[in-house]
Symmetry: C2
């Protein structure tokens, strides 16, 4: 059982930070296991200093929750753990409880491919506090990284201006499953294909790839190597030009392209993987065109990201497709999304109403938003989103078009009175069961493409993007201020 | 079958870039499948602008190779793939070949925990070219990320100056298995424990963790929350101080610590997860000491890395242990190690001698080192490594102490004549079978600690570290220059 024998043990319930289990034991001992909690997943800043993020991983929450069970094996392992101060870390009664545990939760989330912005609820989890707590790590692990990668992919695809982008990141990913995760999220973000064959099998993503430098080096001459590849893969022939000298690579490719024509085949493309891609692609394009090989496409790779692709186009590089690897798979230069999971409302099992809670940090920007949160997105008559409003389920708010809507924090001058509201959060889990609303990754990919097409270009741009307005409904804004004030006055728990 | 149902399909043989398979088909068709190749894995720069890297993932190569088989299921998937130009991508004869494929390889590698430097062979793979090619992606996926994370962990542990560091990175990792990989490599790099329970179960790594802010928020007051936690986990009680105000957190912890004393227990530690950790830890230390609670340890977390930890100690922060998450799990700010896999020698099945090969790039620094490479590390009489030499297996070199050794590229002034040489590469796979030389992760962790203790502090430091000397044996340096010259003169393949 390991990373390398084909059976990575992703036992979902043990895929957790230890403190979820020590807290769960505490809730169980205190008789609080069934008290109700509402947790909210959100992040504080858009990744890459950008104007948006693409929700991802949320479509798998239902499956994760349905499979969240403690196996006999897992219980046996937990039984072996010793507390640092001596004695077993977990009590037998608690282990019995875990053995029968099923997370009876209700979960809403932003659909995969939809846009999401800082401070907004990406996921909302409601249910027994012990269940909310136990799934925390697995849930964050699922949505943090995929949202980051889908966003990175969307940016790279945006820079490629309609040209094809393929994920080449597997060799730099965090283990086999890291690569699988990257391929899935990149596809949702807009990549056309992946080099990762397993991702093709598991998710049905188109796979792409041809040959490496080593192919060329294994033959006495480059020309022989190109000929052999054309013979072996005539319908899928992309020749790599930069094993030695790219100019010679182009000439050898021209020879083979003409031989392929004579045999009724066509050289599909060439790829350049080092050197000055702008200069070399222009040279290759010119030579292919001079030789009547205008149909041969030019593909580029080598440490690409959204900025290098933009720069290549700014230099007029005639590149038709891009293989993007390392910087996509690792979300360089910001390899993490700081998505957090915060308690935002709480109630005893028998209480009717929620008590909103809030973490008042030493740092004001870390102050959370209280309440059982909904997220409403307003669109103008063209369908362009003009602003989002976070509101508490308990507060009434006019949502129909034709009503004036006050949005606080920040105050936006947009006249919402003609905007059409829609709920962004979708029910993913109901009573611990997958609702099936997650949909397919192809649907998620379409959703992302549509969402980005409608997004204001000022928000979409990379350099100093305009912030998309996200406000709190006035009642919720008041509540938040009141809780912070109470906290300051008492030095205690603002929710108590 | 997915990331979330507990059965991540890491079918090792499909965990590959598509081009490995299209090339393999080409080699098979050309009758070259059994030609012999020697590939070398190396990286060009130390991660994090540091002076060293810690080899990791190499101990799992044997298991990976033994499990590298194409299942019926995988073959069925490959059969469905269509070439972009039409028709099946793979021929039936080739799929039959894959169904019976076993990688009959010999592999040497730097042992886990040993140090490795730029341009050195981290792994050397010898065998039929088709087998060498097919395992490329899985091998890079295995060693690239783990070497990066083990190096990051070693740096963080170095900064912690003997204080305990625990991996807290799961929630920001690349999926469940990404987290598992991080925990393994971090432990080898020197972390004492992980929050990741699954990593504890799978690898036997000590697990650590107590409670989150949400625990405190679920109680009417912080004091009640602390009391309840102390009651539930008296032998493993670390109280989190910063849910509201840290000063109040300290006072509440003092009350609970004294109640625990009265009950014959001891508060183990407190943790601070936000705010000015230097200032707050001093305040907490002072208050605990004033109250006779000198034994209560102080733990810190919140976006830590080697630099923040150094800075905390420079400010005199009395912190006893660190939880390091995001920046460890994602190797921030350099989330990838650019490890590559290059053909360095080649021969027909019946040839006696290897023909060295070399990739002559447009960029001189991308020029590879040819040959069947060995790596020899020289140590002075104290055991301090003074320089490494890369040599070709075909070249004779005086290796015993007492012989003068010329080391080229760079020229080093150290007198190697009294240094003791040792081979760094160890046989991990023999005839496709795991040699068992990978050893345990505990051994790897010890090896890393010892290696870093002996390393010159000038090479170990973070700011402008002195480069550790790595040279080419003179015969290999000559060969490399000759191949490059021949290439320039002919514009062809320097190995032909």
């Amino acid at each position: 059982m390991s990373l390398t024998d084909g059976t990575v043990p992703t036992d979902v319930a043990l895929n957790t930070d230890l403190y979820e289990l020590t807290m769960a034991q505490g809730f169980w001992e205190e008789g609080m296991a069934s008290n109700r909690a509402c947790f909210t997943v959100f992040f504080r800043e858009n990744p890459f200093h950008g104007g948006y993020a693409v929700a991802c991983g949320t479509g798998q929450i239902g499956e994760m929750v349905e499979n969240f069970r403690f196996t006999e094996d897992s219980i046996a392992y937990l039984r072996t753990l010793q507390a640092p101060g001596g004695g077993p870390m977990f009590k037998e009664g608690f282990l019995d409880y875990l053995a029968g545990f099923e997370p009876d939760l209700d979960i809403w989330a932003v659909r995969e491919g939809d846009l999401v912005f800082p401070r907004e609820p990406l996921v909302r989890v409601e249910g027994p506090i012990i269940a909310c707590q136990l799934i925390e790590t697995a849930l964050l692990n699922l949505v943090n990284f995929q949202t980051l990668i889908a966003t990175k992919a969307a940016r790279v695809v945006q820079a490629a201006e309609g040209h094809v982008v393929s994920d080449f990141g597997l060799r730099r990913a965090q283990g086999p499953d890291g690569g699988l995760t990257v391929a899935r999220a990149s596809y949702i973000g807009g990549c056309a294909s992946t080099s990762n064959v397993l991702a093709g099998k598991v998710y049905g993503i188109p796979v792409f790839g041809t040959h490496a430098h080593s192919w060329v080096m294994a033959f006495p001459t480059q020309l022989e190597a190109f000929r052999a590849f054309a013979k072996s893969s005539p319908k899928n022939c992309v020749l790599l030009l930069d094993t030695y000298d790219v100019a010679q690579g182009v000439e050898d490719a021209i020879v083979v392209a003409k031989e392929m024509e004579a045999a009724g085949e066509r050289l599909s493309a060439v790829r350049i993987d080092s050197g000055d891609l702008a200069k070399l692609s222009k040279m290759a394009r010119r030579r292919f065109d001079e030789e009547g090989l205008g149909y041969v496409k030019i593909s580029a790779s080598n440490d690409l990201d959204e900025y290098t692709i933009q720069s290549l186009f700014a230099q007029g590089a005639p590149i038709d497709s891009f293989g993007v690897g390392t910087k996509l798979a690792t979300a360089d230069p910001q390899p993490s999304l700081g998505g957090v999971y915060k308690l935002s409302a709480y109630r005893a099992e028998d209480d009717e109403a929620w008590t909103p809670t809030m973490k008042v940090s030493e740092m004001a920007y870390k102050r959370t938003i209280p309440g059982v949160q909904r997220l409403v997105r307003y669109r103008d008559v063209e369908g362009v989103p003009v602003g989002d409003v976070i509101l508490d389920d308990a507060h009434v708010m006019p949502e129909k078009a034709g009503h004036a809507v006050d949005v606080l924090d920040p105050v936006t001058e947009y006249d919402f009175s003609r905007a059409v509201p829609e709920d962004v959060l979708v029910s993913m889990v109901r009573n611990g069961r997958d609702t099936g609303e997650g949909g397919t990754i192809a649907e998620a990919r379409d959703r992302c493409r549509t969402a980005l097409r409608y997004l204001d270009p000022a928000t979409r741009r990379f350099l100093n993007p305009q912030f998309y307005p996200v406000g709190l409904e006035p009642g919720l804004a008041d509540l938040r201020q009141r809780l912070a004030r109470e906290e300051r006055e008492r030095g205690g728990n603002p929710a108590a």
